[in-house]
């Protein structure tokens, strides 16, 4: 067995374990979980302000994209949508997360984000604004669900058409 083989896989010293210890019982520290969940509850009063700012950022990115469609403005719009996709559910707007996921998928999976159809991009941005304006937090809201599913379908169709035209 060569030295090279021996060095392919090795375990560095676990200095982290030595530093913080722990692991004295199986399972998660539920007291820590409860403390953190309580801390998150105290933050909830700020969530509405946070998501409003994230939606405003998306709107700004969309306006810039409309005024000057290029890879950079498209990338900024993608990142704004991607942030909402990741955070909106935490901020109690899961349907906004779904619309943002559809928009970020559209912007990400085309060859270049500036190829995204403006009408479809606009429909996503407007849907997010409406869901927030009407405070729709319920994932079973029928009207909102129809809207979300339609946007997801249109995004999928657009991506499939783009793939076939290559």
């Amino acid at each position: 067995m060569s030295k090279e083989q021996l060095n392919k896989l090795f375990m560095p010293p676990n200095k982290l374990k030595a530093k913080v210890g722990g692991g004295t019982f199986a399972g998660l520290d539920m007291a820590a979980v409860q403390r953190a969940e309580a801390a998150m509850e105290t933050l909830k009063v700020e969530f509405v302000d946070w998501i409003a700012k994230d939606i405003a950022r998306l709107g700004d990115a969309y306006s810039t994209f409309v005024a000057n469609r290029n890879a950079n403005t498209g990338s900024d719009l993608f990142r704004a949508a991607h942030d909402l996709k990741g955070q909106a559910a935490t901020f109690e707007y899961p349907l906004i997360a779904r619309v943002a996921a559809s928009l970020s998928k559209l912007m990400d999976e085309l060859d270049s984000p500036e190829l995204a159809p403006l009408t479809l991009v606009q429909a996503h941005v407007e849907a997010i604004r409406v869901i927030f304006r009407d405070k729709i937090k319920d994932i079973s809201n029928r009207v909102a669900l129809v809207l979300v599913e339609e946007l997801e379908t249109r995004t999928q169709q657009t991506l499939e058409r783009a793939a076939h035209s290559e």
């Binding site: 820590a32 996709k85 935490t90």
Partner: protein, 184 residues
């Protein structure tokens, strides 16, 4: 009481979104973490990493400039990396399996899809403390073993050979040797 002395831990949170940083920092503080640094980009994180020598990094993917993926690659392989072994937990809105593979190939230890949950963050944190992955050096990769701990169980002839960090010798990757010297 878990026995984890989180107050001894130094964590760097890298995210360009201030709301996500505040959320993650609040959760970490509730766990008992006291020493928390923040950075808004890969470039800024690089400087903070050098200045504060964190124990763990919570890293966003999508950022302006150097993104999380590139930061992870640099942290693992750059000769200037302050700690190529540092545990990196990637916290991202990406959820597709292809993204998980990309993160894994960049040297990320744990992948955590947003939206964040308290339990998910604690689970990943405990994982890098209690169940660290062995490190691998190949011609094209240096970082945590990308196979999910299966190597601990399979003893057949096709497995990689396992050595101990204390047995590093002249053929050990230069980066790994340098880091081992620095942390010893």
């Amino acid at each position: 009481m878990s026995g984890y002395r989180f107050e001894r831990l130094k964590i760097l949170v890298v995210d360009d979104n201030q709301h996500m940083r505040k959320l993650v920092v609040t959760i970490l503080q509730a766990f008992g973490v006291v020493h928390i640094s923040e950075a808004v980009s890969g470039e800024a994180a690089w400087n903070v990493m050098r200045d504060t020598n964190p124990d763990v990094i919570l890293l966003d993917w999508q950022m302006n400039g150097m993104d999380g993926l590139e930061f992870a690659r640099q942290a693992r392989t750059s000769p200037q990396s302050p700690n190529p072994f540092i545990p990196i937990i990637m916290l991202t809105g990406h959820t597709h399996i292809d993204h998980v593979r990309l993160a894994r190939d960049a040297g990320v230890n744990e992948f955590l899809a947003k939206p964040v949950s308290v339990k998910a963050i604690l689970t990943r944190l405990v994982s890098v403390i209690d169940h660290p992955r062995p490190f691998v050096r190949t011609n094209s990769y240096f970082g945590p073993c990308r196979r999910r701990r299966a190597s601990e169980e399979y003893k057949g002839p096709e497995r990689r050979n396992v050595g101990e960090a204390t047995a590093l010798d002249d053929e050990t990757p230069v980066i790994a040797k340098r880091a081992a010297e620095r942390t010893s």
